[in-house]
Amino acid sequence: MTLHRRDFLKIAGAGLAASLLAKPAFSATRSKPHVVVVGAGFGGATCAKYLRLWDPNIQVTLIEPNDKFYSCPMSNWVIGGLRNMDDLTKSYEHLPGYGIKMVKDTAIGVDADWRVVTTRRGKKIAYDRLVLAPGIEFMTDLVEGYAEGEAAGKVLHAWKAGPQTLALRKQLEAMPDGGVFVIASPPPPGRCVSGPYERASLVAHYFKQHKPRSKIIMLDGHIDVVSKGPMFKAAWKQFYPGMIEHRPNNQVVKVDHKTMVVTSEFEDVKADVINIVPKQRAGDICAQAGVRADSAGVWCPVNGATFESPTVPFVHVLGDSVATNMPKSAHVSNNQAKICAAALVELFNGREPDPYPVIGSTSYSATSDHTAGPIAVVMRHDPEKGTYVRQPGGGASPEGDEINFEYNKAWFEHIWADTLG
């Protein structure tokens, strides 16, 4: 908590403090309740939009520092040369049209007792309910030398889309034929399990055309190709024989950007281009709010029907930051956002939220410039177990194909439209 009550009183004066104390009464008398959403990504933007669509009586403020949204979905297509940055850069211009108040700023503190969010520019914004959807932050200190390598521009994660996506693409373009691209992924759970395998596939697609003597070494913190394994393995054999070496159970511990050596628990690998995805945790603002409260202190437990923190009332968490058995994907974040929005509408109107929400989880991955495949799983909330339960019948396609490449493109268009359009 960065905002102490004393400071707050000093700054805000008695008037605002009194109005804050009166907040619960506001909601109860059904004047306009105020939801503050932090982060305009797949979780936050969707939640803000659907709150306004489903109950125009709710006031919504959406805090986001970026001018534009860079989509991680499709970013591997850019790294592999199938698309360019413009294709994944999306505007926030439609959101104010829903009556969402956009605040271009970063939330840096939460006082959960007084229900006030503080921003970097010194704003104090009072809420009836707070929705935190900041995505992930990287635990770079777990890889020795990572910070130095990143500062030198020699070690990239490209696991948040934006400048690093383009930088990685540029490095691959500059790499000589016969070079080695090392991509390292952390043990679970983290953002987009299938992402590293899709990235390896699409970089291999690029190498095959332009640098056929090059190699891709995957140092994988997972025990196997854990997502869509048969599909990726079949594609690697068919399209890129001998080009991708997948080394499972091989977590990176150190990197030296001067010698360009990546060190795992088992080996040293010399690289020309280094892409290390560090372990992740929920965005810092979750820690400030006291909700990054799972046993390891990295993710945020929530009530599955409302996405409210079980320990900090009136604070809800969405998307990758949530401690859950659901995959950390844009698809899931968008779905969670709608469930949270619907629950908030019910709560503000004095009704019981649905205890049995259902979430669909799909991700498409491309295996080449014309093939892709999906995984699809339906999960239903079980309030007695306090968790989402995977329904039988779900799973991944055993191989990529052309029709799913078309559906993958449709998925991009529709999730962007649903989240930001």
Binding site: L21, P24, A25, S27, A28, Y50, W54, D113, P313, H331, N334, N335, K338, I339, A342, A343, V345, E346, L347, N349, G350, R351, E352, P353, D354, P355, Y356, P357, V358, I359, G360, T362, P374, A376, V377, V378, M379, R380, Q391, P392, G393, G394, G395, S397, I403, N404, E406, Y407, K409, A410, W411, E413, H414, I415, A417, D418, G421
Partner: protein, 118 residues
């Protein structure tokens, strides 16, 4: 002080909940997951399960791409499609996996939702 404030909030919410129920008389109910619930719970459920389809089929089921739209489709057509996907009578890439995750009554509710969209 903080705890007191929180209790006050909870009390206010409870008061509101009872207030609303009291004003409306015996509220209409519905059955969900084998439990009797206020009808509003089922309405909220239908709203969010239908919205899970938007990500692939387009917001409100209005498609601009290769995955077919659902908006304004005939209700029976939609229910039949879901049953056929589930039973493997109709070929699909993902829809069998989705259809298996929902119930017959959910097919009906979702189909009514999309059929009503102009």
């Amino acid at each position: 002080m903080n705890m007191k404030r929180r209790e006050a909030v909870v009390a206010a919410i409870l008061w509101l909940a009872t207030g609303v129920a009291g004003a409306a008389g015996p509220a209409p109910t519905c059955l969900i997951s084998g439990k009797e619930k206020p009808a509003s719970v089922c309405a909220a459920h239908t709203k969010t399960i239908s919205a899970t389809c938007f990500i692939c089929h387009g917001p409100n089921g209005k498609s601009v791409a290769a995955i077919p739209g659902l908006a304004g489709q005939d209700k029976d057509y939609l229910v039949t499609a879901m049953r056929e996907f589930r039973d493997g009578k109709r070929e699909s890439t993902v829809m069998q996996k989705y259809a298996l995750g929902y119930t017959d009554s959910e097919y009906e509710a979702i189909a009514a939702f999309f059929a009503a969209i102009k």
